[in-house]
Symmetry: C2
Subunit: 80 residues, 2 copies
């Protein structure tokens, strides 16, 4: 089973990488960009085949290691 975890900065947390991308896009001539935010995507291949157990494991991985829950939100989806 494959798990796809998306980790994004919470609203209100400064995102210097996003700002840098926004600046670079503007200087390349792309206009009309209001805001840019950058996050991470982590793809995990798991041996687990039961959806419920895999979901519990992935949620625990996010809480313990993958996301810094003080400043980041996470969401995940499981693909059989």
């Amino acid at each position: 089973m494959r798990a796809i975890v998306k980790i994004t900065l919470k609203n209100g947390v400064l995102d210097p990488q996003g700002k840098a991308i926004e600046g670079a896009l503007n200087s390349l001539g792309f206009g009309g960009i209001d805001s840019v935010r950058q996050g991470k995507i982590i793809e995990l291949d798991l041996d687990e085949t039961e959806t419920e157990k895999a979901e519990a494991a992935v949620a625990e991985m996010c809480e313990k290691l993958l996301a810094n829950t003080v400043i980041e939100n996470y969401s995940y989806e499981l693909v059989p």
Copy 2:
């Protein structure tokens, strides 16, 4: 209109960040993980309201700046 761009390393390209996450998960006691790959997710808020124009602009941004197409794949979706 909002564009969500996913950038992932191509198959066969070494992913040291993914390997580091895999090692850390193993040492935290999470077993049964076959592989971990890390990518980026970039959310852009665009002024453009026409889907076709926005799509063309985002594709050009990916080719010119956001993705290194030698080693990375990109995909994007537009959310009205």
